[in-house]
């Protein structure tokens, strides 16, 4: 079984670009990734592409071949949809294909266009990642779903809105200097606490913004990297995926995310590491409480103990385990289908030393955690600098 290298990465600016189409965004990100890899696009054997709400936002299904065109590829292309984990799933399938010899060069990416819908319509569109019969028809929005988990967490383990605010403050701080981030401004705990409530106990600053953007990575086999003398020091050494019941009401736990626990365990086993080996992670903080749940699922913390991690300075840039050095979904932005591959992009650059926050990384193992819906699906990937 061959190893899988990240040969190149690319991002568009994440933000509000209502005038730009999905195909334009992906054309930019894919071109950047191929340039970064130094690979001619004619060598790409397939495109794995993640997108969630293209039918609603652009009246566009069947985006695989469309995005292959945008990327200038003459190759088969498949769209993966797994809500906010769409491109995480696309990465996992690409890793499998490279490992088993099906392909030597795979372009993986994702894009989402959201701002052209407006806030109300976007809220409605995102809600389709929940159970239509039993959740959406009860008026549950996405922030509401995470609020239900936050409330359950507080009830079971304790924690406060201040603890959540510290996570938002940290991730905004990390985004300072990230040219691709939607928000590049500091916020204070007071700003977060004073912001309007969206779904109690979550306020506006507990939520990621509505974002347009695209990301892409080029994955190649070890053999291909050697034959073409590529400078590709980072490999994906572990992949895992987990699932859970669609609706919160059918879950065993409301304040834990077993789908992420399973994905993490599988990815760690695959890479032959455990949580203590990890130096840096990008986790799916679509809401501040989601970062807490992720840190526990990834086994960085025991159940109920990650809530104060940011406040205690453990997950900040100068802490022992920096989390979301990109700014995370909270400050960098969350163009849903692009998020999974953007996390791999950020980690690759953090590990190879060309990220604005690379100095904060002490070690050579990174983990990406990408969650779909209310964590009914999750992928976890382990990235390591080649020894």
């Amino acid at each position: 079984m061959t190893g899988v290298r990240v040969a190149g990465v690319g991002l568009t600016h994440f933000g509000s670009h209502p005038e730009r189409t999905g195909r334009d965004l992906f054309a930019e990100a894919s071109a950047t990734a191929l340039d970064d890899a130094g690979i001619d696009r004619s060598l790409v054997e397939q495109l794995n592409y993640g997108n969630f709400m293209g039918e609603l936002s652009e009246h566009q299904g069947h985006q695989g071949p469309l995005m292959a065109e945008a990327a200038g590829l003459d190759a088969p292309a498949t769209r993966y949809e797994s809500a906010c984990a769409s491109s995480g799933v696309a990465v996992r399938e690409a890793v499998k294909d490279v490992r088993n010899g099906e392909a030597d060069v795979v372009l993986v990416g994702g894009a989402e266009r959201m701002n052209n819908l407006g806030t109300a319509k976007t809220t409605e569109a995102l809600a389709i990642a929940a159970d239509d019969l039993y959740e959406v028809r009860a008026g549950m929005t996405f922030p509401a779903a995470y609020a239900l988990m936050a409330q359950a967490y507080f009830e079971q383990y304790g924690g406060s809105r201040e603890d959540l605010a510290e996570i938002a403050v940290k991730n905004h701080d990390n985004a300072l200097g990230n040219e691709f981030a939607q928000f590049q401004r500091e916020i204070s705990v007071e700003d977060a606490l004073d912001a309007p409530m969206v779904a109690d106990p979550l306020g506006l600053y507990d939520a990621c913004p509505i974002t347009d953007g695209a990301s892409a990575i080029v994955l190649v086999s070890d053999e291909f990297a050697e034959q073409h003398d590529l400078d590709a020091p980072v490999s994906i050494t572990g992949t895992g995926q987990g699932g859970d019941k669609m609706a919160l009401q059918d879950r065993e736990y409301l304040a834990r995310t077993p789908a992420a626990e399973k994905a993490a365990e599988e990815a760690y086993d695959d890479a032959g590491i455990d949580a203590t080996d990890v130096s840096v992670a990008e986790v799916h903080d679509c809401f501040t409480i989601a970062e807490v749940l992720a840190l526990e699922a990834l086994d960085f913390y025991a159940q109920g103990e990650a809530i104060g991690a940011a406040a205690r300075g453990e997950t900040t840039r100068d802490g022992g385990l920096p989390i979301n050095l990109s700014g995370g979904l909270k400050a960098k932005g969350h163009p849903v289908g692009a998020t999974g591959t953007s996390q791999i992009t950020e980690l690759t650059r953090l590990l190879r030393g060309d990220h604005h926050n690379s100095d904060a990384v002490d070690g050579d193992v990174g983990v990406a955690h990408n969650a779909g819906g209310t964590v009914a699906s999750t992928t976890v990937h382990v990235l390591e600098v080649n020894q």
């Binding site: 806030t119 109300a120 319509k121 809220t123 409605e124 809600a127 019969l133 039993y134 959740e135 959406v136 028809r137 009860a138 008026g139 549950m140 929005t141 922030p143 509401a144 609020a147 239900l148 988990m149 409330q151 359950a152 009830e155 309007p196 409530m197 969206v198 779904a199 109690d200 106990p201 979550l202 019941k245 609706a247 919160l248 009401q249 059918d250 409301l254």
Partner: protein, 129 residues
């Protein structure tokens, strides 16, 4: 116009049953509860599902006050969405008959059917016991 003109068998049966005071849920041979429509128990895969009576009261396990809603619920805000534990099964619905700020975890409630303010759509609601 209502969005959900088509009948969703199972789900609408469930709402009908609640409305007529004969709420039920599905229970498999291993005692796992779920709400219809199901052909299999979502917890163990058993196809031996029987309708059992929904207990008259449940307790709020978790809830949130929704202040920013999708267009279909715009006129309903602020409203409480709650997940209620009925023992054998949990259900998600809106709290009625209580100020939004007075809702608490552990509150005892009973299930009923209401309408949304925005669209008049039928919805599962809970009232304080």
């Amino acid at each position: 116009m209502k969005r959900h003109d088509a009948r969703d068998d199972g789900f609408d049966d469930f709402l009908d049953a609640i409305e007529s005071g004969e709420g039920f849920y599905l229970e498999c041979e291993n005692g796992h509860g779920s709400l219809p429509p199901r052909r299999l128990c979502p917890h163990c895969g058993s196809d031996e599902l029987a309708e059992v009576a929904l207990p008259e009261t449940g307790t709020i396990e978790t809830f949130t006050v929704v202040r920013v809603a999708a267009p279909e619920f715009e006129a309903d805000t602020p409203y409480v969405t709650a997940v209620v534990d009925f023992g054998g099964v949990r259900a998600t619905g809106q709290m009625r008959g209580v100020e939004v700020d007075a809702v608490e975890t552990g509150m005892e409630v009973e299930a009923g059917i209401g309408e949304t303010e925005t669209t008049g759509e039928r919805i599962l609601v809970f009232h304080p016991r």
